[in-house]
Symmetry: C2
Subunit: 156 residues, 2 copies
Amino acid sequence: MSFSKHCQDDVFFMQEAIKEAEKAAELDEVPIGAVIVKDNEIISRAHNLRETLQDATAHAEILAIRQACKTVGSWRLTDCTLYVTLEPCPMCAGAAILSRLKKVVFGAKDPKGGACGSLINILSDERFNHQPEVTGDVLADKCGDILKKFFQDKRK
Amino acid sequence: MSFSKHCQDDVFFMQEAIKEAEKAAELDEVPIGAVIVKDNEIISRAHNLRETLQDATAHAEILAIRQACKTVGSWRLTDCTLYVTLEPCPMCAGAAILSRLKKVVFGAKDPKGGACGSLINILSDERFNHQPEVTGDVLADKCGDILKKFFQDKRK
């Protein structure tokens, strides 16, 4: 029962991350969205804003982590879970370790830059001082389709 | 001659990064400092502010990259060099790739978390879409001594 409940939660919160990705698309940003959850409540939500802010670090995950740190008043996000529509890159996977996130749940895999199993696997490397749990492939098709549509529209 | 000139520049700018590390120590932050240089001029400078800001992403490099993006008005830091007193972690090495930095120059190696050759080597991985040049070991002893002294004082 608890596994089933857990999966339902993952789907629910990934749907919220997808809503963030859709906000990014509306801004003509690569559509990636994230939410951070603590005690079953969303404590921060963000979407990619690289172009809008002209900031190379303004990935959805970094913005969500910074906001969550503000919300909890600590750089330690112990007991928090990050939901993100695309497999995190090295920067964002690194930030997940640094912020001591309990868990990272991602949607689509990123074969070109993913750092959670696709190209490298930072989160499971026991030489770093923290290893978040990782779950991938949650609503992967839906998360990937939003990205595919965005890049298809760009080529028109 | 040009190699000698180049090395002198690296030492000069690393000394500026060390000044930033010393500012961090004064704030009781782990003393790591960074500057970003374009056309032989410092366009941003920052030091670790994780505790002060209670922000897990507030490493010297991330703060310097964000400031440099603001200064040049673009997320692309092409033709810019990052000088940092400690070998970047995965988050910061990833940000160096994402911001298209031309070069990363670091001081001391980080055997516990370094992502530029010590534990992993993100910057030289040709599967990512950009590879900054990398030079390590610039004023490494001085950069390392500041960190050693900080942690020794903590234990007193």
